[in-house]
């Protein structure tokens, strides 16, 4: 299996109490899959993502990518953050070139590659702008272009559209779905938005809280072009709703 999580456990000490973020989590992901980690805050979805991306280590169990144990972040697996992580003192082009600089790509090639990916995310002509001059959605597009520019195998996205307004979010969802098919990347996407997960994922990993664990994994048999109001879409969405409903009444109240 391409990505392999076996019996991963992770706990934190919070206010003197032990908090179990991951409780014996196992998960297999194939190359090229679009996976959404879905669940409420505290279900360990971000912890799992951080463990996969190499920012945090699990206390026990193993996390392997392509057969190799994950110990630190790597330039072949790029993480996109909710707050974009653009460097405000660099203009858009220079931001996209950031990763290429460490890969020792020549100056001309850096510019060529960066412009190509800026075009892909629909930001041609914005090269000389600074992040502060862009809207949140545009900034996240720059971050996506910067990630794609180093040609990673996997893209991790940690609630990347959480800070955006609903309409911008839908646009970006469409774009990331298109890009994931065009560029054939494996994408692991953390969200707490059920519709977002149904719209994007090949498989949805539904997680539950206290302790953080996988409740079930739902296949989304909807193909590449998805209609948010289509019957199939609503059917899958309802299935996920049910999954959360089964848990407890109070939980749903908090969630919706």
């Amino acid at each position: 299996m391409y990505i392999e999580v076996r019996d991963a456990c992770k706990h934190f000490i919070q206010d003197g109490k032990e908090f179990i973020a991951l409780d014996h989590v196992s998960l297999d992901i194939e190359k090229g899959e679009f996976i959404c980690l879905l669940g409420p805050s505290g279900c360990g979805k971000s912890t799992l993502l951080n463990a996969l991306a190499g920012f945090e280590k699990v206390n026990s169990g193993t996390v392997r990518i392509d057969g190799k144990e994950v110990t630190e972040p790597s330039i072949s697996n790029i993480t996109i953050f909710q707050n974009y992580g653009l460097l405000p003192w660099r203009n858009v082009l220079k931001n996209v070139e950031l990763g290429l600089e460490s890969k020792k790509v020549s100056k001309e090639d850096r510019e060529k590659i960066s412009k190509k990916y800026l075009e892909l995310v629909g930001l041609s002509g914005y090269e000389k702008r600074y992040p502060k001059q862009l809207s949140g959605g545009q900034q996240q597009r720059v971050a996506i272009a910067r990630g794609l520019a180093v040609d990673p195998d996997i893209i991790f996205m940690d609630e990347p559209f959480g800070a955006l307004d609903a309409i911008t979010r839908m646009k970006l969802q469409e774009d990331i779905l298109r890009i994931s098919k065009e560029e054939k990347k494996t994408i692991i996407f953390v969200t707490h938005d059920i519709e977002e997960a149904v719209f994007l994922a090949d498989r949805i990993v539904v997680m539950m809280t206290d302790p953080g664990r996988i409740k079930s994994i739902v296949k989304v048999p909807l193909g590449a072009h998805r209609d948010r109001t289509g019957e199939d879409f609503l059917y899958v969405r309802d299935k996920i709703f049910e999954l959360f409903n089964i848990k407890t009444e109070g939980f749903i109240e908090y969630y919706i």
């Binding site: 972040p73 707050n83 992580g85 460097l87 405000p88 950031l98 600074y130 180093v150």
Partner: protein
């Protein structure tokens, strides 16, 4: 329009100051030689300008100031960038800094004069000390306050030292560092005069001592005004540089 308004403010403010001075001069019974009028001080200023002494002293003082201030800023920023990344080490260094920081740089003066003699060096050392701690501490705290996302992104994209420092950490911390550098300018200028009053035979600070020794209160007051004006000019100049750098740093102000 805004500039014109602020110019009006300056003129009115200075006029009030001179008026109060003139008033105090008129009602007080002090000897004219001890408490001169604005007019007398102005004449003394003209005298100093025309005999070249003022510019000679300004030149000497500026040399000391620029040397002390910039060497201090450079050393403090470099040290701050290193210590900011080593919070565990800084925990052991910080208490010593906190012990040394509240000591007025002038308290070191006798010691510095004993070691270095009279001349340029004591004034430079005083300015160095005066600027050092504010810049060092603001740099350490700026580095500690960097958005963790920048560091995560750098790690993810394989940016390692020393690139990490000059590509990410320094620019990310720069606005807060610039704040410390700016604050230190005022402090350093204040201590230049103190340093020259004790440890030098030239410069604006010495000119004050010299005026006192010759009981030339008019020269003394004129020098004080010149010191104040240069302080304002330096501050304005730094503000301008800061603005230019920050503008290129973030695109928009």
């Amino acid at each position: 329009m805004k500039k014109l308004l602020s110019l009006k403010n300056v003129i009115v403010s200075v006029a009030i100051l001179i008026l109060i001075w003139q008033l105090l001069f008129s009602v007080s019974n002090y000897d004219k030689a001890l408490f001169p009028s604005p007019k007398m001080s102005f004449d003394a200023l003209i005298e100093m300008i025309s005999n070249g002494r003022l510019f000679e002293n300004i030149k000497t003082s500026m040399y000391r100031f620029v040397t002390g201030y910039f060497s201090s800023v450079i050393v403090a920023v470099i040290l701050g960038l290193i210590l900011g990344r080593l919070p565990k080490v800084f925990q052991y260094i910080n208490p010593a800094i906190q012990l040394l920081r509240p000591i007025s740089p002038t308290a070191w003066m006798p010691f510095i004069v004993l070691l270095f003699g009279i001349g340029d060096v004591p004034a430079i050392v005083i300015i160095f000390i005066a600027a050092f701690f504010p810049v060092l501490l603001s740099t350490v705290s700026a580095v500690g306050n960097i958005d963790q996302t920048y560091l995560k992104v750098s790690k993810n994209f394989g940016i390692k030292q020393p690139e990490l420092t000059w590509k990410v950490i320094f620019p990310a911390a720069f606005p807060q560092i610039a704040n410390g550098i700016h604050l230190a300018l005022g402090t350093a200028w204040i201590f230049l005069v103190a340093g020259e009053m004790v440890g030098a035979q030239s410069g604006l600070g010495y000119q004050i001592i010299d005026a006192r020794n010759n009981i030339r209160a008019d020269i003394l007051l004129a020098t004080i005004i010149v010191i104040g004006m240069i302080g304002i000019l330096l501050d304005g100049l730094l503000k301008l540089i800061e603005k230019l750098i920050l503008k290129s740093w973030g695109g928009v102000e």
